[in-house]
Symmetry: C2
Subunit: 256 residues, 2 copies
């Protein structure tokens, strides 16, 4: 009897399933980073082959099920055995204790969540620079509005948000290496990804802002060089940024 | 020695402080409803008299402090003694166990949070119907864009969100009286407030949608008639909706 095989099967049954659109980083990337940075085993369902019962169709089928107790509103969502959770911040809140990406202390946990929700707000605002009218319309059909919204985002919102993250690092009583306490949390991974996205989408505007937030830049570097994150970023599991995702490089929107 | 006085002072020191803009319901209302529905004692700081050391100036002073460990990005925020928490969903997550507005079961708690975050997403989209370009500009300066965004919101987004809430109620294995399990949670209070806001801002469009979501309407009625909520709604602590808040009645945006 092959005990290793048994252990392996058991472990596979318990493997997390990440469900997200297969061709973009999008909001799924915040979850993927948490899994990758901790060496956690997972299946990226919609990116897996349809002939194994996976693929986008499998994700869509699950979303339409009438029998699910916890139907997700939209991807990303995570399946952990029978338990299903959607909404990026809720997925991270669920995973974090097991992945040791949050302090056990209740107040530190709530503070981490608060930072994550502020990152999520900024991600939505970054998305809305290219889709200020409707996600269902093409960019080209809302370009005039996008130019106006991106101007405000680059000149007002981006500095305001980044200054706040800088302040959180500066006022952390445990030191300025991480957002919460003196260990990496999922919020640090998410802030790394936010900076990555801003640099891709708004190279000029983000440079102007980031030069004034050295602690944020140092954190970004710290995460990028964490061994598991660095290996992931070089792997083909890391999708490229593109003009299909949340962060899009349209030079006319980069009001530097 | 007056022991009652001592107890009273002690209790006052422990009273929650809610910090939010004093003239609008806004996002603060989701926290206020949780406090009111549970008969929890709190001080509405920015709505209190400046000569008692409170008022908007006190809220602003606190936000600017360089010494706070957990500086809030924006109101609302809650102070519980020395602990400070911002972001509506994080405040509710923090308060809920004490106020008994969430199940103790971890998975039910995460599910409640997921629903709350989806409500929060819809609140942001409702806000952006009148401010699709920049919160810092007047409505009149983005009215053309607002008309386009509101059209999509009323015809696509509102039905999609409300249909999901209806489905959550219909697929709740514990019955369709509440969103999670068979007891009122903070998500039920928030969905009540969302329906209130939609009916105020979009009377025609929301009527068309709500007629197809009878479970959501029944939940709204159940919350409105909960004795403490009903008493609160009749009190002068409940501010009126207005064209300064998140939900604004501009008839031209109500694409019914």
């Amino acid at each position: 009897m092959n005990q290793v095989g048994i252990v392996s099967d058991y472990s596979q049954a318990m493997t997390y399933e990440l469900h997200y659109w297969p061709t973009i980083q999008g909001r799924g990337e915040f979850v993927r980073l948490a899994l990758e940075a901790t060496g956690t085993s997972y299946v990226d369902v919609a990116r897996s082959a349809a002939d194994t019962g996976k693929g986008v169709a499998a994700m869509q089928r699950f979303m339409d099920l009438k029998s699910t107790r916890h139907p997700p509103f939209a991807p990303p969502f995570l399946k952990d055995g029978d338990f299903v959770v959607g909404q990026t911040a809720a997925i991270l809140q669920y995973l974090a204790p097991t992945l040791k990406l949050v302090a056990r202390n209740e107040q530190a946990g709530i503070w981490t969540m608060q930072i994550q929700l502020t990152i999520a707000d900024m991600v939505t605002e970054a998305h809305d620079t290219h889709h200020p009218i409707a996600s269902s319309l093409y960019y080209e059909d809302q370009k005039a509005e996008a130019l106006r919204r991106a101007g405000d985002f680059c000149k007002e919102r981006m500095p305001k948000f980044m200054k706040w993250f800088e302040r959180v690092l500066a006022q952390n009583p445990a030191g300025n290496r991480y957002l919460v306490g003196n260990r990496m949390s999922y919020a640090d991974l998410s802030l790394f990804q936010l900076v990555e996205g801003l640099r891709y989408a708004f190279p000029l505007a983000s440079e102007k802002v980031l030069v004034r937030t050295p602690l944020v830049l140092a954190l970004h570097h710290r995460i990028a060089t964490q061994p598991r994150v660095a290996a992931y970023l070089k792997s083909d599991r890391r999708l490229a940024f593109s003009e299909e995702g949340v962060f899009r490089r349209y030079p006319e929107l980069d009001v530097g």
